[in-house]
């Protein structure tokens, strides 16, 4: 008996230990630190209640980071999910007619998912360079005014959102393609008998309802990743100019690891974490409801 317990310990012990040490313990610590004024390297810290949270939600800078993240996600989620669905439907249909071409296009759309985002951000930065970049050169060929894509305060967040869409469309496309492959053709035949035999009516009577669970999953994944935006901000703008592209994870990084305000950064972390948990809870609730309705 003791032998068995020892075997279990040898097999599962190390995993249990590292999960506690590197996941559960840090989560607990972050929730404690969030209510202190602890600074990295300081000998002591004071309890300051919810002051860190008050600063985050009450200060201009804190609210700005939260709002920017919401605006960024508000653009990226619908655009990336919508485009992913459109591309998937197009490629799904194309698979029957031109399978080779369909496979090539699928590969192309998925490339940004596998590529190193920081390296691609370096390329984007050069594409968007005010004078040496291709985008502004093409803009002037088309007779449009060149833009300061990354240093115009009113524009920078939208530029980053466009890159976020570029990065995630292929991922959503793959998920939608998998969803489309599971719709039985018999359903389309049945819909055709009822008069829904083409285009939009086909889409609304069969495709869209059948894709429901997939769409929900895609929206949540896209949302979670949009809230985590960091690499492009850190590489291209560092949150600037004048905090115009500051986001929640970048603010967490800056406050915690540049300014060493561990307490305040922990409060940002807690808010970020709770927002993600809320999203997951929402997903579970919606899935449950869907199951009950059937």
């Amino acid at each position: 008996m003791r032998n068995r317990a020892l075997t279990d310990l040898v097999l599962a012990g190390p995993a249990a230990l590292v999960v506690i040490l590197f996941i559960f313990l840090p989560v607990a610590v972050v929730f404690v630190l969030a209510f202190t004024d602890y600074q990295v390297g300081a000998r002591s810290a004071n309890w300051i209640g919810i002051e860190n949270f008050a600063t985050l939600f009450g200060s201009r800078q804190g609210r700005n980071a939260l709002l920017n993240t919401v605006v960024y996600a508000g653009i990226v989620i619908p655009a990336s999910v919508g485009l992913g669905l459109l591309v998937a439907m197009g490629l799904h249909r194309l698979t029957d007619i031109l399978p080779r071409l369909s496979a090539v296009l699928r590969t192309v759309y998925f490339l940004p998912v596998a590529a190193t985002l920081v390296a691609m951000a370096v390329s984007w930065q050069m594409l968007l360079h005010p004078s040496l970049g291709l985008i502004n050169t093409w803009m002037s060929v088309l007779g449009l005014a060149p833009q300061q894509w990354l240093s115009d305060r009113g524009l920078v967040l939208y530029t980053l959102a466009a890159i976020g869409i570029w990065q995630s469309v292929g991922y959503n496309m793959v998920l939608f393609l998998a969803g489309l492959a599971t719709i039985p053709t018999a359903l389309y035949d049945a819909a055709a008998v009822d008069g829904a035999d083409r285009g939009w009516s086909r889409f609304w009577t069969v495709t869209w309802p059948m894709l429901g669970p997939t769409t929900l999953f895609v929206v949540i994944v896209t949302a979670v990743n949009a809230f985590r935006v960091f690499e492009t901000v850190a590489t291209m703008t560092k949150g600037g100019p004048a905090f115009a592209s500051d986001t929640i994870v970048y603010a967490l990084y800056r406050e915690g690891f540049v300014y060493f305000k561990a307490g305040y950064a922990s409060a940002i972390t807690v808010v970020f974490f709770l927002a993600l948990l809320l999203l997951t809870a929402l997903q579970i609730m919606l899935v449950e409801r869907r199951v009950h309705y059937r």
């Binding site: 068995r4 075997t7 279990d8 040898v10 097999l11 599962a12 190390p14 995993a15 249990a16 999960v19 040490l21 590197f22 996941i23 559960f24 840090p26 989560v27 610590v29 972050v30 630190l33 990295v40 197009g90 490629l91 249909r93 194309l94 296009l105 192309v108 759309y109 490339l111 998912v113 596998a114 590529a115 190193t116 920081v118 390296a119 691609m120 370096v122 390329s123 050069m126 594409l127 004078s131 040496l132 970049g133 291709l134 570029w166 469309v169 292929g170 991922y171 793959v174 998920l175 949540i220 979670v224 990743n225 985590r228 960091f230 690499e231 590489t235 967490l252 990084y253 915690g256 974490f273």
Partner: protein, 272 residues
Amino acid sequence: MRLGAVISLGLIALGAVMVLLPFVWLVSVSLKPHAEIFTTEVALLPTRPTLANYWTALTETDIPRYLLNGAIVTGSILVLQLAVTVPAAYAMAHRRFPGRRLMFGAVVAALLVPFHVTAIPIFLGFAQLRLLDTYAALILPFMASAFGLFLLRQAFSQIPAELIDAARVDGMSEMGIAWRIAFPLGMPTVIAFAIFSVTAHWNDLFWPLIATTDPGLATPPRGILFFRDQESGDDVGPLMAGATLITVPLILGFLLAQKRFTQGLANTGLKK
């Protein structure tokens, strides 16, 4: 309908060109001679392509070092993750020990925790232990992979219990069963997890930015930012060559093993 198909194909192809643009631009600028980069007549493709920027990137910068660091860090992370995960996933799937359900519940709960959430305490702990600015700092936190535990436990559960019992009758040790029966039988899942793990850690910027300041320890994304921030804006060619070099390994892997890659990255949905 025909016309509709042609239009939708046209739009998808146009979209694909836009998706490819930064890739083409990256390679194109990396092949341009200095004079073609710093010109007012910017062109998509180089007129006199040269490999000079690659030569500079490989001989005069730390790019090879960053690539080596990337291989060391991602390789060590994967080996440690598997060393910890495979026996535990086997135990959760095929052994009845007290706390087994609690452990699986804890793994599922841990899945909900993005790495960002644990960064501050781990940083503070490593600072106490004087581990910052070491390879260990870059590697150790990722030993705990709730995702790997979850995925492998699900895969190992598919293995019939009779097979495991037969191995026990043959006198195989439990650790032996985990590595010589469960591990090879779960190989497709192991590979999907390996692709996910290597991609995630090769591409990660967040933790290397926090855990290291020494350029000698920089992983590829961290390194490319060191390179960019050092140069005065005059080394765009070698910078783009370097960025190409750090992107090539994963893209090559993706093109060669597309199906597995797509599975590894797509099925692993929520945990990026």
